[in-house]
């Protein structure tokens, strides 16, 4: 039987209480979702049950990682509103921020990729059958390289919320998917950026899979009026911190 939103709400609350109890008992703060999070039904058969093996070999190749350069992007890739002959529909926004590693150092010249639904909540993907209009002037794919301060910036339109089939009346809060590379393969991150004040946060098992409230807050961009451009666009700021060690950390004995 398809679970209702109320069923999922109850499961989310149970997971949240279990985490609060672990914290109260002196457990560590969890920065990432646990991979087996039953309220997100697709996770049930797609997470390992055995614990991962810790690799502490300073010669592991994962402590280095791929590099990208000017040949891998085009100038228009960071502006999702200029990839077609016409203008996409929706609220024009800029999203900008810094990519840092765990020690707060900027991640420079690395690839940032984004993808998102259009303003109506529809992806330009054949498997997305949400009966909302496609926008012939919006693909929803962007790329850029971080600059020497670790900054990235995209111009796009605000994505719409969209329904999905996790449970009855399931809706995803508006989000932009992000993919990030660090100095090492261990620092790889794929995540989603959310918009402040979205009423759907509490109902969404994907966001709630991050059971730590502070960590959840780190997935939400800040509206920054100074980043808004008069008569043109609204500005959001979202800084990203990549987890995981790199070869340079190990050389410096961190």
């Amino acid at each position: 039987m398809t679970p209702t939103q109320r069923d999922i709400d109850r499961e989310i609350a149970t997971e949240s209480q279990a985490y609060a109890k672990e914290l109260a008992d002196g457990g560590p703060a969890l920065h990432h979702p646990s991979r087996g999070y039953a309220p997100y039904r697709s996770s049930v058969l797609r997470h390992p049950r055995q614990p991962p093996i810790a690799v502490r070999d300073p010669d592991a190749i994962e402590l280095s990682g791929p590099v990208f350069g000017v040949t891998d992007i085009t100038d228009l890739d960071a502006d999702l509103t200029r990839q077609h002959t016409g203008e996409p529909l929706g609220e024009r926004i800029t999203v900008t921020g810094r990519v840092l590693d765990r020690s707060g150092r900027p991640v420079t010249s690395q690839l940032v990729e984004i993808w998102q639904a259009n303003a109506s909540g529809r992806y330009a993907h054949r498997r997305d059958q949400h009966p909302a209009p496609l926008d012939p002037n919006f693909s929803g794919v962007g790329r850029c390289l971080t600059n020497d301060r670790g900054e990235y910036s995209f111009t796009t339109v605000k994505p719409g919320a969209y329904p999905w089939r996790n449970h009855e009346n399931a809706w995803r809060p508006a989000h932009i998917h992000f993919s990030l590379f660090g100095a090492a393969f261990t620092q790889r991150l794929v995540t989603q950026m959310y918009f402040p004040g979205d009423p759907l946060f509490r109902y969404d098992p994907i966001l709630q899979s991050v059971t730590d409230e502070d960590a959840r807050r780190r997935l939400v961009a800040i509206y920054d009026h100074d980043l808004s451009t008069p008569e043109w666009s609204l500005g959001y700021r979202w800084d990203i911190v990549l987890d995981g060690p790199s070869a340079t950390w190990i050389e410096e004995g961190r």
């Binding site: 920065h31 990432h32 646990s34 991979r35 999070y37 997100y40 697709s42 049930v44 058969l45 797609r46 997470h47 390992p48 049950r49 055995q50 991962p52 093996i53 810790a54 690799v55 010669d59 190749i61 994962e62 280095s64 990682g65 791929p66 590099v67 990208f68 350069g69 000017v70 040949t71 891998d72 992007i73 085009t74 100038d75 890739d77 990839q83 765990r102 990729e113 984004i114 993808w115 639904a117 992806y123 330009a124 498997r127 693909s139 794919v141 998917h177 393969f185 261990t186 790889r188 991150l189 794929v190 995540t191 899979s209 991050v210 960590a215 780190r218 990203i240 911190v241 987890d243 995981g244």
Partner: protein
């Protein structure tokens, strides 16, 4: 220390954004010494996973770990993809599983390490998983410190099966009896 940004699932709709032409071809099949690594990603019920995305990272055949740009070379005129230039070995590959959960990589044997580092993303997977595809006939295979530290049961899933001279099979099981050994770096 700054606190990390949490991971979230890659979801179902990355297919028009992340894969790119030649993503799985770090080398062409015709390159001298080229090998094929292929396999199927399975879920805990043994079913193939048609919406997984694999990334690999490896040293160049000469052992360099510096990597090279140009994995997803772009056409500045059309905005499309040019494919790799056939000269630089970038060390990076990205390939989506097909409708039957299968993937294929073509590459050159890594220098200085007997494995390809593999990162798995999928719809339903809230945080990516790392594993390694070991090449069992690689000169460094016998002395690899990670393999040496593992019990046989946890070691077997990391060893690719050599199917013929240049062909290796590396299946990934996200869960279950044949569950792949996944790795953590912290």
């Amino acid at each position: 220390m700054t606190l990390p940004t949490p991971s979230q699932t890659v979801g179902p709709f990355y297919g028009y954004a992340l894969p790119f032409p030649d993503g799985g071809n770090l080398a062409t099949a015709a390159a001298p010494g080229a090998i094929t690594v292929h396999g199927t990603v399975h879920d805990g019920a043994g079913q193939p996973v048609p919406d997984a995305l694999l990334e690999v990272w490896q040293p160049a055949p000469d052992g360099s770990r510096a990597g090279r740009p140009g994995s997803m070379r772009r056409d500045q005129v059309t905005g499309g993809f040019l494919g790799r230039n056939g000269i630089d070995f970038t060390g990076f590959g990205r390939v989506a599983t097909d409708h039957d959960g299968h993937y294929t990589l073509r590459t050159l044997p890594p220098g200085g390490a007997p494995y390809l580092a593999v990162c798995v993303f999928a719809r339903g997977l809230l945080h990516h998983l790392y594993t390694r595809a070991y090449l069992t006939d690689h000169p460094l295979h016998a002395t690899d410190p990670l393999l040496a530290a593992l019990v046989a049961q946890r070691r077997a899933s990391l060893e690719s099966v050599r199917e013929d001279e240049n062909m290796y099979r590396f299946d990934i099981h996200l869960q279950g009896e044949k569950e792949t050994t996944f790795l953590a770096f912290d």
